[in-house]
Symmetry: C2
Subunit: 292 residues, 2 copies
């Protein structure tokens, strides 16, 4: 394996991941739709290209961190996967549907390349701090090559086996649980607030005790203080994820009433023009409903 | 203040709390509707009485750990509170409605006694291990007397000020969040299971990372393994708590759609004859719905 990596997609998450790979000693060729986003990475030594095709090294490794299913399917055209070809590995970090991962994996197989789903749980600052967590799934041999590479920039790597869709299922389940935690805190803190208890004091009690986990401590602070800026993850992307969750569940006949409720909260947040706020703003729905 | 304490209510939680107080050096006079439950405490040196009235020390301290609002209101009759009288303190640990606490507090005031709400977050084994947490609220002077006593058997004591109902609001909010976490995991694990991922593996990943908190680790194990026995907290008590939550929220005009969903899950679990299982069995609803 070469120390060279092609890296496609330099959004809020892609950029710090690419930077971490450079810091770990990898030689990166990067591409992004808006090329100027590559500037800070070029300063660190990355090569930038104007066409994703030019980043691909036959038989090499390509990371992708893209917005959604459509972007991954568009960029990973037959032509591009053919160039990646025999021995090539695609580390697909985007939060996409398990079904899309399974289909892309078949296309990669066709050309002798391997597809490894590797979605990450991390906000941008967590990537920078090296405390993110990654789920991987896909062909065993390729997974074993990918694991030590991603281990360089996360805290934990969790292996979900051969099904290329499995890691995406876990990622969707986790994102659903984060969004449900936002709603849960929104409702609980609002009930407390209207009983004369400060949102901050109930937040502190619960997240120092029963709910002493990163999700509740970090998002709870945002919800307690209604501090929905800066935007680390957009509401629109949250809606995309919960729709994928419901679709994935529905495909295997699993009703998810709590996820339905969350989806409607996202839809309402966007209807109220909150697309400029972090997805923590999902929790504002409970305050709105209570006339606050 | 005397080292003597009256202790009313020896259920799943009351018994280990009473035992902890004895171990901390307090002299206990205990009462329980079913008197035989006091036997293990009598062996440790407690005195047992047949009438709660006989346990009360005028101007002393009485702890109560009772099943519900009706039990607290029945036992803390005007007559009993009158005997408790001037300087007396009632440490009310039951999970009851904030409104009942506020009304009881007024009756105590009338007779010169103080009412301190002190609900505890702990399953019986957590009480034994001394890792529970208590919220207190009520008259300041009485709170300061109560805090060092309860501190002898819990990890943390959280003060929510003068409103005797405040600690109950926080307790209800916390119990709602626990029940919502059960449903959340039920839905997420079921979606994973029907995608060929073991419930245990998604449980381990999520509770070692984003959801690394006691609630998710302890209840998550129960939900992942469908291990709803032995019963630490009955489903019927969970339903009682979520009804109190919804009533408390409704009293101050706070809609809680997620709590509504949870309430229906409790009702359904009881309809299915699961009253002999731990309230973790709330999570079975998601599996049932998915035909598992």
């Amino acid at each position: 394996m070469s120390e060279k990596i092609a890296f496609l997609g330099l959004g809020n998450l892609g950029t710090p991941i690419a930077e971490s790979l450079i810091n770990a000693g990898y030689e990166l060729t990067v591409w992004n739709r808006t090329a100027s986003k590559a500037d800070p990475l070029v300063k660190l030594g990355a090569t930038v290209v104007e066409d994703p095709m030019d980043a691909i090294i036959p038989g090499g490794i390509v990371f992708s961190v893209l917005a959604d299913d459509a972007a991954v399917e568009e960029i990973f055209s037959m032509e591009l996967v053919e160039k990646l070809g025999k021995g090539g590995i695609h580390v697909s970090m985007s939060t996409i549907s398990p079904e899309t991962s399974r289909q892309l994996s078949q296309i990669h197989d066709w050309y002798g390349a391997s597809y490894v789903a590797a979605p990450i749980f991390a906000r941008p600052e967590a990537v920078k701090a090296g405390v993110g967590n990654i789920c991987v799934s896909g062909k065993a041999e390729a997974r074993e090559i990918v694991k030590p590479i991603v281990q360089t920039f996360v805290k934990g790597v969790y292996d979900f086996g051969d099904d290329p869709g499995a890691a995406n299922v876990v990622k969707l389940a986790g994102n659903f649980m984060i969004a449900a935690s936002l709603e849960m805190m929104g409702e609980a803190f609002t009930m407390a607030e209207k009983n004369g208890i400060s949102r901050q004091s109930i937040y502190e009690m619960l997240t120092q005790t029963l709910f002493a986990a990163p999700i509740f401590q970090n998002y709870g602070k945002i919800v307690a203080q209604h501090a929905y800026e800066p935007v680390a993850f957009r509401l629109a992307l949250g809606l995309k994820d919960i729709k994928l969750t419901l679709q994935t569940a529905s495909d295997v006949n699993v009703p998810m009433p709590m996820a339905d409720l969350i989806k409607n909260r996202f839809v309402s947040a966007l209807a109220k023009g909150r697309d400029n706020l972090d997805w923590g703003a999902l929790a504002m729905g409970a305050s709105d409903d209570a006339g606050l």
